[in-house]
């Protein structure tokens, strides 16, 4: 998080245009954004503002129509589908609103899933998955199936899975959207804690202001453009205290 170093994520004049039949949808209209390693920021905006499209581009799930996207030293726009899969696998972790865990598959195996595709040895997969489940507070629930866990617990498993290959970026799309307020609170506190423990950059997409309050920077989207980019004093994190 040293200031002056090159940003981890660099978006320059990013456009995304869809064609729905004859209708042209301009989901992004020239977005430029720099995100440094270790930042904790929220992307907010109404639905249809382009925030989810931007999220998919940052997550290498999609390719921009125009513009450049650099992740670290890599120009993502030039990569093939399989090269983007490798980047998603090792450098990006996803947390979804509806958890997206594999049903009929234990918590431990869900967490190990990204490591299978990274060719991590089996024993190491198990060890690391156990460690991550413990870090999100699910020690002892390794053999549980998603259906045997509460919503908050399922989202913790999803967060542990997102961290499996020690990614540099964690992308969370409305992570508390399906949770009650108590679970939401716990998940947000987990994000704050993990940010320091796992040295990970967290990008949160949300439309709830009190969720965005947990972050240090709020980027607002409207009609495919960034309309404001404001730093804010984070209400919670005390780095020295959380680091232990």
């Amino acid at each position: 998080m040293a200031p002056g170093t090159r940003p981890l994520i660099q978006l320059r004049d990013l456009w995304k245009v869809y064609h729905l039949g004859d209708v042209e949808v301009r989901a992004l209209r020239g977005v430029s954004l720099d995100i440094r390693a270790g930042e904790f920021l929220a992307i907010v905006g109404a639905s249809g503002s382009g925030k989810s499209t931007c999220m998919n581009l940052i997550g290498c799930l999609d390719q921009p129509t125009r513009g450049t996207y650099r992740l670290g030293n890599v120009d993502v726009a030039t990569l093939s589908a399989n090269e983007r899969a490798a980047i998603r696998n090792r450098r990006i972790g996803f947390v979804f609103q509806n958890f997206n865990l594999l049903g009929r598959t234990t918590a431990l195996e869900n967490v190990a899933l990204p490591m299978i595709y990274a060719n991590v040895p089996f024993r190491e997969q198990r060890r690391r998955a156990r460690e991550l489940l413990a870090a999100v507070g699910l020690r002892g629930r390794e053999r549980h199936l998603p259906s045997q866990l509460s919503g908050g617990q399922q989202q913790r498993v999803a967060i542990a899975r997102a961290l499996a290959n020690a990614p540099s970026v964690l992308l969370a799309d409305e992570p508390t959207g399906n949770l009650d307020s108590q679970s939401s609170l716990e998940i947000m506190e987990l994000f704050v804690r993990l940010r320091w423990q796992q040295h990970v950059t967290i990008i949160l997409v949300t439309h709830e202001p009190h969720i965005a309050d947990y972050t240090e920077r709020v980027v607002t989207f409207r009609d495919g453009r960034i309309v404001s980019d404001l730093p804010q004093a984070s209400s919670r994190p005390a780095p020295e205290a959380a680091r232990g």
Partner: protein
Amino acid sequence: MNLLWMTLVTALRALRRNVLRSVLTMLGVIIGVAAVVTMVSIGRGANAAVQQEIQSLGNNLVMIIPGATTVSGVHTSSGSAASLTVADATAITKECPAVSEVAWAKRQVVQVVYGSQNWATPAQGVPPSYLSVREWPLSAGRFFDHRDDAGANPVAVLGQTVVDQLFTPGEDPLGATIRVKNVPFEVIGVLARKGQTAWGQDQDDVVLIPFLTAERRVLGTQILGTVDMIVAAAATADVLPEVEPQIRALLHERHRIPQGQDDDFTVRDLNEIAEASKNASAVMMNLLLSVASVSLLVGGIGIMNIMLVSVTERTREIGVRLAVGARTGHILLQFLVEATALSLVGGAVGIVLGFAATRLIAYLAQWPTLLSAPAAAGAFLVAGAIGIFFGFYPARRAARLDPIAALRYE
């Protein structure tokens, strides 16, 4: 390796999740493989039986029988003319280089009596060379020699069926006196069992007596030296095709048959007859195999169908896997392994079922069958190939899903 193992575990889990559906999907492959295994077993059994018949006739034999007589332009049945003679037979031995040995026979169905038993059977007057030409061993006693033939001795060698009919079990026929057309004969030998010919004739139902004995004392003749049949053995299998033209040429010359006129004899290559029946059974087997293959094809389409359903059902799962870093190859492999597992398990069950069906058919229908390990292995491999072939399209569809659309799929 690790990845492949995990893929296999995932595939088996997915199949176990819906056991009934998996089993029903496999049914086509199971039936197809079982049918192939059973058909090949039956076909091989039939072939082996034909092969045995060829052996029992004697290898590389050519048979010459007299032609049809023509009475006022009306043909009578072939073999009715008295056109072949012992002299023809000995000439064939001398003049045809491709022929190693010749025998001939005079044949008539006669009544054979021993004690209070009697039996109607073809008596054949043959020269001492007959057994070696037919490659027919004795099970007891001796065959008659040139002295027996020249002296027209009343000695007989019996086929197994005749022995069974005339003698009580355990009774030694050697030395017994039987009456053939009321002429007393001494039994000096018993032939080894030979079984049926391809056309269902019992070769063991026969009494062999010296040719001269038959001609002069039992069967009688209108013209001395005429025979009902000449059998010529080729020197080797290689020269077999030359035997027939050589004999034809010789007999044309000896019988003074001008060009363009009907032969007064017929030459038959026994191997040709056996080949023909072998070909017939091969045609039948190919027909049945293609029916079985249709079942395999239908099984493959069933697998494709259910895999397409599975891909649709698990679109979200595919989206998640793509999001966490699965490459298109990983997804392709996962669904291919699943389809192949379906077809291979089906193949294995089919083989077991096919073996059981073969056993049952062999037992119930009394058909000769021959289980074939290569056929089973082949059917298994074909089943696997079908899984890969028909699994490929659904797997490719899964692998080409757009991760964003897949994640949003409801």
